[in-house]
């Protein structure tokens, strides 16, 4: 059921109860969780936090806790799966789902009780959901008819024949139409408004919002954009909303600068450079490891490095300055950096180097950009552990990442930034080697590549956030590396990547991402994977909340891919 008034229908209902909060492991969900925690703290609500990584864990944790809790909040999970079907909850349990995964499962949406969906009031979104009447219909009258038929006499039956036939025909037609509607609805998976943003709006409606919560909402939205879950237009409209909240929260201090304490969080809106972690790294490294610059310069070639040097020379920045930590660069250069980059970027064919973003500052510390926070928290979430401490590692990763979000100046955030640098380096070196060796193959309807076990850093690739970031990086770089005629074609091709998931079990993780030219970020692999698996009877598991990420047994890989090609061509 759709909740229209989240304060009364959701928060006030759970206020005096014990609540179980299940959080998916992505940055957006964590941010939403932080805001919700702050709200719960204000009203002394008792709650339990449980991280859930995939569907089976969701079921497991639910089974474990279902005795004690009657109210369950799902953050960024559960919206696109039929909860009543997989969890089979008793009738007094209610679920509150705040999920950005789309399409929403229709049973969840039309269920009259037990499941409550928190959605943004968005015309498009509601319009996308098919009419209730077109997919559900009472068959009672028909059934009664058939029952009556049997009890009635044979002679009478003949008279009804024409009518029942007509009815049946109509029913068949309707069923076909229903199938079509549902197929259209579920064909693509994509992402709706960020969960953090939704929870923030709840806080705002309760007039309990403050700068900390706004920062979490910003981080949640930045996560969606950075991991290419949403297109630029959706991002910009969210940013505009956030900007409105920002000026509303801070308007009192605008007239007099020194009224605000140094130790509080200050958020500012700016057109920032789209470079990864450049405030915490050296400018040169950051240029090499950011998606837009790395792919534009083709830094994996010698020519690319040369062009990068040319770019720096054009801006008049000495290499000694660029190669040292950004915070130690001369102040004059730092101040002019934005305008310098912007001027030279056009000459080198760098488009969209600047984007709207937010940064936060607390005390006299360095400023933290929202996208850097996303990198850092994401890296902490997927920190690697040795095999024996795997189970403990996942939970401690969750706690660490929550901790890193707790304050802008949290020391864990710094650790995360260092980890994120390692990840970006791994991405860059793998992208270089993939393109150099020409490992990306065109399979007709899609591009394909596989990460081999034994590659350096191959362990990173089993993690969904990293794999997603890597595949976007790779697709961008690959398309750039082609010549013009091929490029146009490759732009419209999606990419599928396989990577070792669990070496001991012999399983592979597969991710599919939409083509570069597609701005709507709609992903058709969810259904394609499902059909391919059905057709070949591969041993796949569609455990991830994101339907375009699946795992399967290594032996089934080749027949699965063959089926995928036939389905998609």
């Amino acid at each position: 059921m759709l909740i229209t008034d989240p304060v009364n229908d959701f928060f006030n209902k759970v206020k005096h109860e014990r609540v179980l909060v299940m959080v998916a492991l992505d940055v957006d969900a964590l941010c939403a969780c932080k805001i919700l925690q702050a709200l719960f703290k204000c009203d002394h609500v008792q709650y339990t936090l449980v991280p859930v990584i995939n569907k089976s864990q969701l079921i497991k944790e639910f089974e474990e806790h279902k005795e004690q809790y009657k109210h369950i909040v799902l953050l960024n999970c559960g919206g696109n799966i039929d909860l009543l079907h997989i969890l089979d909850p008793s009738e007094d349990i209610s679920f509150y789902v705040i999920d950005s995964h789309r399409p929403i499962d229709l049973v969840n949406f039309f269920c009259e009780q037990q499941i409550y969906m928190l959605l943004k009031h968005d015309e498009d979104e509601i319009a996308a959901i098919p009419d209730y009447d077109s997919i559900y219909r009472d068959y009672d009258s028909d059934d009664e008819d058939s029952e009556n038929d049997e009890t009635e006499q044979v002679s009478k039956r003949h008279r009804f024949d024409e009518a029942t036939l007509e009815k049946r025909r109509e029913r068949k037609k309707w069923e076909e139409k229903r199938k079509e509607i549902i197929f259209d609805y579920e064909e693509f998976s994509f992402y709706g408004p960020s969960a953090a943003m939704l929870v923030y709006e709840l806080a705002w409606k309760m007039s309990k919002d403050n700068n900390d919560q706004l920062w979490w909402a910003i981080t949640g939205v930045a996560d969606q954009f950075q991991n290419k879950k949403i297109g630029r237009d959706k991002y910009v409209s969210s940013v505009l909303e956030l900007q409105g909240h920002m000026s509303r929260l801070n308007h009192r201090d605008e007239d007099d600068d020194n009224t605000k304490s140094v130790n509080s969080v200050k958020i500012s809106f700016e057109h920032d450079l789209d470079l990864a972690l450049y405030r915490h790294w050296s400018l040169f490294e950051s240029l090499c490891h950011s998606l837009p610059t790395a792919s534009a310069f083709k830094v994996w070639t010698n020519m690319g490095i040369k062009r990068l040097h040319q770019f720096l020379a054009e801006m008049g920045l000495p290499l000694t300055q660029c190669k040292q930590n950004y915070s130690f660069m001369e102040t004059k250069m730092r101040d002019n950096l934005q305008s310098l980059v912007e001027e030279s970027a056009e000459k080198f064919g760098l488009r969209n180097i600047k984007y709207q973003s937010f940064s936060a500052q607390c005390g006299y510390n360095h400023r933290l950009c929202a996208s850097d926070a996303v990198y850092s928290v994401g890296a902490l979430l997927e920190k690697l552990y040795s095999k024996d401490s795997q189970a403990a590692g996942e939970n401690s990763n969750f706690v660490d990442s929550l901790d890193s979000l707790s304050r802008v100046t949290a020391p864990k955030m710094q650790d995360g930034l260092e980890l994120a640098k390692l990840q970006l380096q791994a991405i860059k070196s793998s992208v270089s080697s993939f393109i150099d060796i020409g490992q990306i193959l065109s399979y007709g309807p899609f591009l394909y590549t596989a990460v081999r076990e034994g590659m350096p850093d191959y362990k990173y690739f089993g993690k969904p956030i990293f794999l997603n970031l890597f595949s976007h990086f790779l697709l961008n770089s690959y398309v750039r590396s082609l010549n013009k005629t091929k490029r146009e074609r490759a732009k419209n091709l999606p990419l599928v990547i396989c990577a070792p998931f669990n070496v001991d079990d012999g399983t592979t993780i597969i991710i599919g991402i939409p083509p570069l030219a597609d701005e709507s970020r709609k992903n058709l692999f969810g259904n394609a994977f499902l059909h391919a698996a059905e057709r070949t009877k591969s041993r796949t598991s569609h455990e991830s909340f994101d339907s375009s990420i699946i795992t399967l047994k290594n032996e089934d890989l080749s027949k699965f891919l063959d089926a995928l090609i036939t389905i998609m061509s």
Partner: protein
């Protein structure tokens, strides 16, 4: 007494808050508080004010004396005067400290105030120390210090009484040996 205990006593001071919720009177052992209605200022004990503030259910009105100009003149007076000046509130430091940490956003110029209050505290502590030095050197039997706050007395008490005890014992033993020497 620990500093924490002094702070606990200070939390009984009344402050003005503007709540954003409605609630009837609350009956505490120490007295009744309320009723609360949105937008109407009400006097509550500091501990309650902080608890409500942390739940984001009120705005705190800083006390009159917690103002940059007033604190600045206080500081100047404190420097000029030889003795301790009178504090606007017997729990001046504790109240200021608590309000500045928990209700920073309701107090204008919080950072500046924090420094000024720390300055006043330091000046007074220095005065106190030099006075004690004088007192001990003179071997006086008693001294009179007006306008000391409980916190200040409390910071100096454990050290001062203990050292006076020591000195007394030393002095007794000294006089004892002297008496012995003279009788021999």
């Amino acid at each position: 007494m620990e500093p924490g205990d002094v702070e606990f006593i200070a939390e009984k001071e009344l402050v003005k808050i503007v709540p954003n919720f409605a609630l009837g009177k609350i009956y505490f052992i120490s007295g009744d508080v309320g009723p609360f209605s949105p937008g109407l200022p009400v006097d509550v004990p500091l501990w309650l004010a902080i608890a409500i503030k942390q739940r984001q259910k009120c705005r705190v009105h800083p006390p009159e004396w917690l103002d940059v100009d007033k604190i600045e003149t206080m500081k100047d007076d404190e420097i000029a005067s030889e003795f301790f000046t009178e504090l606007p509130n017997p729990h001046f430091c504790e109240v200021a400290q608590l309000l500045l940490t928990h209700a920073t956003d309701n107090i204008p110029n919080a950072d500046l105030l924090r420094t000024l209050i720390k300055d006043i505290w330091d000046i007074r502590a220095a005065k106190l120390r030099s006075n004690i030095d004088k007192f001990v050197k003179l071997q006086a039997g008693h001294a009179r210090l007006d306008n000391l706050s409980q916190m200040e007395i409390n910071t100096i008490r454990p050290f001062l009484t203990a050292s006076l005890d020591h000195m007394y014992q030393l002095r007794i033993s000294q006089s004892y040996t002297e008496r012995n020497m003279s009788t021999q």
